[in-house]
């Protein structure tokens, strides 16, 4: 466990050295400047748009970090040949891999947490400066805590994307890993179409294959409740719980697959 924590902390320090956290500044500037500029363009929908923009930005920035850092976690060590030094120490390959994963997840958690605080700060300012009659027309307060459900599910989605990026990076080049991870993420948003594919085609075999793919490919659309929370629609805790368990189980499955491939890889 100590080994995993040690590797994880090093990954986090490396991401700080690589100036990954600069994205927080971009996020804050984007949100603050948009909230300032957007008022005249939206016919009174500025709070709704800031909520949409904030949640989408948290998701997008996190996704970029998860994919583009995730694919390099193992590859960089191999490329720099530091993997030989590392694996000659009393550290198991699974521990190394898990440490790398936890390190990037730690980076993502800190990123998402800081972005969420900045997001709520901008919304709190908008709430305080909005007239009472305008506030009364909102479906929920600007600083509605129910939006944390969407943030939590975004974090779980990012954890799954990171695991998938790490999985591909254990056996392929960074470019290919990035392409494959993004492809899985995109396909994961078309899951509903895969499920309904049978209704539009006559071949039962093709329909069965599509349905099979529906169950196998990670259902990323399930983690997206941004629209619902912004409009104060109910997102039951049971839904959040089931989706969280699904995400965590999928992460465990992908990491186990990555560990098996990594343990068989020949570094001679």
């Amino acid at each position: 466990m100590r080994v995993i924590a040690h590797v994880a902390v090093n990954v986090f320090k490396e991401s700080v050295r690589d100036k990954i956290l600069y994205n927080l500044v971009v996020f804050a500037v984007l949100l603050i400047s948009t909230s300032y500029l957007i008022g005249e363009l939206t016919a009174g929908q500025d709070v709704k748009i800031i909520k949409d923009l904030g949640l989408a930005s948290i998701s997008m920035f996190g996704l970029l970090i998860a994919v583009f850092i995730g694919i390099g976690l193992v590859w960089k060590e191999v490329e720099k040949r530091s993997i030989y030094t590392l694996l000659s120490k009393p550290i198991r390959r699974q521990e190394f891999l898990l440490g790398k994963y936890c390190g990037l997840v730690l980076t993502l958690i800190i990123n998402v947490a800081v972005m969420t605080v900045a997001f709520y700060a901008v919304l709190a300012y908008m709430e305080v400066t909005s007239p009472v009659n305008i506030r009364a027309s909102w479906p929920a307060p600007a600083t509605d805590l129910a939006m944390l459900k969407a943030v939590a599910l975004i974090m779980l989605e990012l954890m799954l994307v990171t695991a998938i990026a790490l999985f591909f990076s254990t056996f392929s080049s960074p470019f290919l890993s990035a392409m494959l991870t993004i492809a899985v993420w995109v396909i994961g948003h078309f899951n509903e179409d895969l499920r309904n594919y049978g209704a539009t085609i006559s071949s039962p075999v093709a329909a069965s294959i599509a349905r099979g793919v529906y169950y196998v490919v990670p259902n990323f659309a399930a983690f997206d409740v941004k629209l619902q929370v912004v409009h104060a629609q109910a997102v039951p805790l049971r839904y959040v719980a089931v989706t969280s368990v699904y995400g965590i189980t999928y992460v465990a499955f992908v990491l186990l697959g990555a560990a098996i491939i990594f343990s068989k890889r020949d570094f001679k």
């Binding site: 027309s137 179409d193 941004k226 409009h231």
Partner: protein, 299 residues
């Protein structure tokens, strides 16, 4: 490696040149389009395609299309071009509400933009009805959308039976206000009378989500006041004729005869006009309350 000072100077000079050239570019006449070609472009028109292509960023994409809708409406409304068109209004609203089906304001404001008489709006109550019905399919519990539908039938189509039907449906929805049911009854019994119009606009002015919508409702209420004023003065003109046997030629004549204390004015302060040949009273052409609702409107 040390950067040569000349490189910094070159950097600044090139940056200044880019800005200067852009300013020059901005002063150029825009390149014209062939006759009959509209500058209004919408690259993607399929809501289903766009919804899928947006992946998990559908709400944000909906916001971008909403901003485009507001800009298209605003720019067209302010345009002095006699051939201006609101041709993108409905497709943009359709895309916005397909990307974000819970975007109530897009349905509500969208129906206002679509119904308003040209050149202030698209004059397309049919499209407003289609948009609001789409909204009700997404939000069957939203009484505001059903009330808005009733309003389109009432104010723009003067179809009071359909209006009463939608007001009734709205009154049966969750959290519907209690003024909707009597409004439905009055609309069905008396058609579009001024009292029910006043009720509608008063509620819109009270509940409006945006200042411009509230201002519009206040203008409509002031117009109703002006119409009340016109009715009242026309009755006085009729009394004058009954007593003198002829129509007055001016307000001064009526004041001298003791029928009026002063020159009557609309709520904006502009004096009413008197048609000496018919006895009809109208707004001054420069009054900000012009144009009053359709004279065929039974208000």
């Amino acid at each position: 490696m040390k950067v040569h000072p000349a490189a910094w100077v070159a950097l600044v000079v090139l940056f200044a040149a880019v800005i200067g050239l852009q300013m020059l570019q901005a002063e150029q006449q825009p390149l014209g389009l062939p006759a009959g070609v509209s500058a209004n472009l919408l690259y993607v028109r399929s809501p289903e395609f766009l919804r899928r292509a947006a992946l998990s960023f559908d709400a944000l994409a909906g916001d971008i299309y909403w901003i485009r809708t507001v800009q298209h409406y605003g720019q067209t409304k302010l345009s002095k071009d006699p051939n201006k068109q609101y041709d993108l209004l409905f497709p943009l609203l359709d895309l916005t509400t397909s990307l974000d089906p819970y975007f109530d304001v897009a349905y509500k404001f969208g129906s206002v933009f679509l119904t308003e008489a040209f050149p202030l709006g698209a004059s397309r109550p049919d499209q407003a009805i289609a948009l609001l019905q789409k909204g009700l399919r997404a939000r069957p519990d939203k009484w505001e959308l059903a009330q808005e539908l009733g309003f389109v039938y009432y104010w723009w189509l003067m179809d009071y039976e359909s209006a009463a039907d939608w007001f009734t449906r709205a009154s049966e929805m969750t959290n519907a206000p209690n003024w909707l049911r009597p409004l439905a009854a009055v609309t069905l019994a008396q058609g579009g009378n001024r009292a029910s119009s006043r009720t509608l606009w008063t509620e819109i002015a009270r509940d409006a989500d945006a200042d411009w919508l509230r201002d519009q409702a206040k203008l409509r209420l002031t117009q109703l006041d002006a119409m009340d004023g016109i009715d009242l003065i026309e009755r006085v003109v009729e009394q004058y004729r009954a007593r003198t046997g002829s129509l007055p030629t001016s307000w001064a004549e009526m004041i001298r005869a003791g029928f009026l204390h002063s020159v009557p004015a609309d709520p904006s302060g502009k004096p009413f006009r008197l048609d000496a040949s018919t006895g009809k009273v109208t707004l001054d052409p420069t009054s900000p309350l012009n144009p009053l609702p359709d004279p065929d409107h039974r208000l």
